[in-house]
């Protein structure tokens, strides 16, 4: 799920290699595997055009911006990493002015406010959509057609997904929902998981549990691809129940979340916040603790609302101090103590 920049870089380069080598049909497993191995050994072997290199640099910048900088311990290290990423993106744009990902990421990094970035995304969206849709008409061979059907659409999806995510953060929920719907129309299988942002927007607009269910049903194809109910949907439903004073229902859903996700109590207790992925939502394993942490971070807009926000907002406190979460935290603390005691004994030996 989500967009994996390295994988996407690889797929693009392999497809272009097939086009050059006139490999047909496209499902040539042996060729693909060999090409992928060459990519793993050294991507430069496959890079031939400015366009190829431009996307490759974008993928490298994404590695830095979305997967490394947020976890760096010192601010100065993170800052110089971001400077490096910005240089890569600038070069990517020069190599291929039609590289919409690089253009967008640069705007994200350089915008002073969410408003500024949102304005940029709104102004550019029609053109990006037109370009990506136009690829299919312009496709002259099976390779271009394959590209137009999937890889070529992705920059437009990421554009819309960024618009949805940023309008959600900036308090414009209808606009977020609108961007989500357009993205789902373009790609009903929702490779960027834009529908999760839609769930959060629906909860912010307090459309009720029925509306959440309808949205789920309307996009069942995409939702069912996730093993079990995703944490965004569960958090949106918990918030909706909580807003309706349906505390028993909120507790039942919370229990469900805790049952489904490993160490869910910790994620719900700490409610860590990470910056949004600049390229796209970061890639995490469905059903993993990381996925829950990511969903909780994105659900900050729901958790930190109302009196006492940000630290003591009602829903944030309700979750962190809920007996189910507290019990879980207690159990972890016990386990850690038992672990320490055991290590201590071993140390004596």
């Amino acid at each position: 799920m989500a967009f994996d920049p390295i994988q996407e870089d690889c797929l693009r380069l392999v497809l272009r290699a097939m086009q050059r080598d006139r490999v047909y049909p496209l499902e040539n497993q042996a060729y693909i595997e060999a090409a992928m191995e060459r990519f793993t050994a050294d991507p430069n072997q496959l890079i031939r055009t400015d366009r190829d290199r431009s996307f490759h640099l974008t993928a490298r910048a994404t590695e830095i911006v979305d997967y490394r900088a947020p976890f760096m311990s010192s601010d100065s290290a993170a800052e110089s990493a971001l400077d490096q990423a910005e240089d890569l993106l600038s070069e990517a744009r020069e190599l291929d002015p039609a590289n919409r990902d690089a253009e967008r990421m640069l705007a994200a990094l350089r915008s002073e406010t969410d408003d500024e970035y949102v304005r940029f995304l709104i102004d550019g969206q029609d053109q990006v959509l037109a370009e990506c849709r136009g690829l299919a008409d312009a496709a002259a061979d099976p390779y271009d057609r394959e590209f137009a059907a999937d890889l070529g659409l992705r920059p437009a999806l990421r554009w819309l997904n960024a618009l949805a995510a940023r309008t959600l953060i900036s308090g414009r929920y209808r606009m977020a929902l609108d961007a989500v719907e357009r993205s789902l129309e373009l790609a009903p299988d929702d490779p960027g998981d834009c529908r999760f942002t839609g769930m959060l927007a629906l909860a912010k607009l307090e459309r009720g549990q029925d509306a959440l269910e309808r949205f789920y049903d309307d996009h069942a194809q995409a939702f069912l691809a996730h093993p079990g109910i995703d944490p965004w949907t569960l958090l949106a439903r918990i918030a909706t129940a909580y807003k309706e004073f349906a505390f028993d229902e909120a507790t039942r859903l919370l229990q469900h979340l805790i049952d489904r996700y490993p160490r869910a109590e910790r994620a719900l207790y700490y409610q860590a916040e990470f910056p949004d992925g600049v390229y796209a939502r970061v890639h995490v394993e469905p059903g993993s603790e990381d996925e829950l942490i990511l969903a909780v971070s994105e659900a900050t807009v729901l958790l930190q609302e109302g009196l006492g926000a940000p630290e003591n907002a009602p829903l944030a406190v309700w979750l962190a101090t809920h007996p189910l979460v507290q019990q879980g935290m207690g159990a972890f603390a016990d386990a850690v103590r038992a672990d320490e005691a055991r290590t201590g004994l071993e140390g004596d030996n």
Binding site: T167, Y173, R174, E206, F247, A313, P314, L315
Partner: protein
């Protein structure tokens, strides 16, 4: 509603209940007498308890106004002492009359628990109070347009059997003598004779028949959330029930002379405010809508509606509220000039991404409110409502209230305040206000 505005009415109603057949002239005299010597008319424990509550209420509001500008530490120390003094007065009131719901509400609010706990406690008290109101006032009905049914005869027989007694002078207090039993039998027959849709018209006639109370919301009351009947919409139902409701004037008298009803409305408003401040905007709307149906009860519930609809990005409901409030509440002036409307509209357009209308709206807000721009740019502490919006004391009071109530919505829209401040007109209005009124 300020106790000093409704306490005389309560005393008048109590006197009328004990003295039959007062002429209009005698009643006017009585009113003057009560105004001149209220103490002479405080004969029941209920009235005495209310007077005690009124004193505590006045003490808290006046006390807070005196200390609001003190440094934090001193303010907190003085506030705690003030609340303790008020607390003992409230305890006295509740001891005098265990049904003094106003005192219980203020006690909850002075306890300064976190918003969710407070909301939970107020919701329980609200349900208890509603039950009490249903038992005490035969003619009270959440389904009626202004919460009151017409007098007995009209209610029971539909048309033709209406008695001519002047009900507007007489509170509909529950009685538990033989008459009640007669009424109950008659009511049961009436219920049998009517269609299901009309059943909610049947009111309880004594404490032993509370299950009929209020009709339709009974089942829903057991759910997580209290729900309320709404007036019928179909023509046939409306036509059949039309004669059964109290007139607006009558409902106004009944509401403002019934302290338990006032207390219930205060709780409904409190829930609405707390819902707004804990990020529950549909609930804020639902409870504010109840307040919009009152007659004779002073409020600015339309302000809550403007903010909640703006936050929920419901343009249609927002402007519908303006139209409705202009019609229902002409005493508030044109809604288009209200700070709640002006701020709500700016938020609404901003959130919907309607840039130009949003720009015009925020400049309008700055130009047409006294202090609105200043409070938006430099938030100023507002004492919490105890329990409802205080009467405006300054030219800027309403704008201050509107911005204070919108705080959660503004924070939820992180770039909004900065965006607003970016307009020279807004900055200039804030500075001019600051210079004129000497705010720091």
């Amino acid at each position: 509603m300020d106790p000093k505005a409704y306490l005389p009415r309560v005393l008048e109603a109590e006197y009328l209940a004990a003295h039959d057949g007062l002429t209009d002239k005698a009643r006017a005299l009585l009113r003057d007498e009560i105004a001149a010597h209220p103490d002479r008319y405080m004969l029941t424990r209920r009235a005495k308890a209310l007077a005690r509550y009124a004193e505590a209420h006045r003490m808290v509001l006046a006390g807070l106004n005196r200390i609001v500008d003190l440094p934090d530490e001193e303010f907190n120390a003085r506030r705690i002492a003030l609340f303790a003094r008020a607390g003992s007065l409230l305890a006295e009131a509740i001891k005098l009359d265990p049904g003094c719901q106003e005192a219980k509400l203020l006690r909850l609010l002075l306890a300064e628990t976190d918003a969710d706990t407070c909301l939970h406690d107020v919701l329980l008290l609200e349900q208890e109070t509603l039950e009490m109101v249903r038992r005490r006032y035969l003619r009270f009905d959440e389904g009626a347009p202004h919460f009151w049914l017409a007098e007995e005869g009209a209610r029971r027989g539909g048309m033709g059997t209406s008695r001519t007694a002047k009900v507007s002078g007489r509170p509909a207090v529950a009685v538990s003598d033989g008459k009640a039993a007669d009424d109950k039998a008659a009511d049961e027959k009436a219920v049998d004779d009517k269609t299901a849709g009309e059943k909610s018209v049947a009111a309880p006639t004594s404490d032993i028949a509370p299950q009929a109370a209020g009709g339709q919301p009974r089942a829903e009351r057991e759910a997580d959330l209290p729900a309320y009947a709404v007036p019928p919409t179909s023509f046939a139902q409306a036509a059949l029930r039309r004669v059964s409701y109290a007139s607006e004037e009558e409902a106004a008298w009944l509401t403002t002379s019934s302290p338990e009803v006032i207390a219930w409305l205060h709780m409904v408003e409190t829930v609405s405010f707390l819902a707004l401040s804990t990020g529950r905007y549909q609930a804020a709307v639902r409870y504010a809508r109840l307040i919009m149906r009152t007659a004779g009860y002073p409020h600015r519930a339309e302000g809550t509606l403007f903010l909640a609809h703006a936050r929920l990005e419901d343009e249609k409901a927002f402007f519908e509220t303006a139209r409705e409030a202009n019609e229902l509440l002409p005493q508030h002036g044109r809604q288009e000039d209200s700070p709640w409307f002006l701020l709500g509209r700016a938020l609404l357009f901003y959130k919907l991404g309607k840039d130009r209308p949003a720009q015009r709206a925020i400049k309008d807000f700055a130009a047409r409110t006294t202090g609105g721009a200043f409070f938006l740019v430099a938030p100023v502490y507002h004492t919490p409502y105890l329990p409802v919006r205080p009467e405006p004391r300054h030219p800027w009071s309403l704008a201050h209230q509107a911005v204070y109530e919108a705080d959660g919505i503004i924070l939820d829209t992180p770039d909004f305040a900065q965006w607003a401040e970016g307009f020279p007109e807004v900055r200039a209005a804030a500075n001019a206000f600051q210079d004129k009124y000497g705010f720091e």
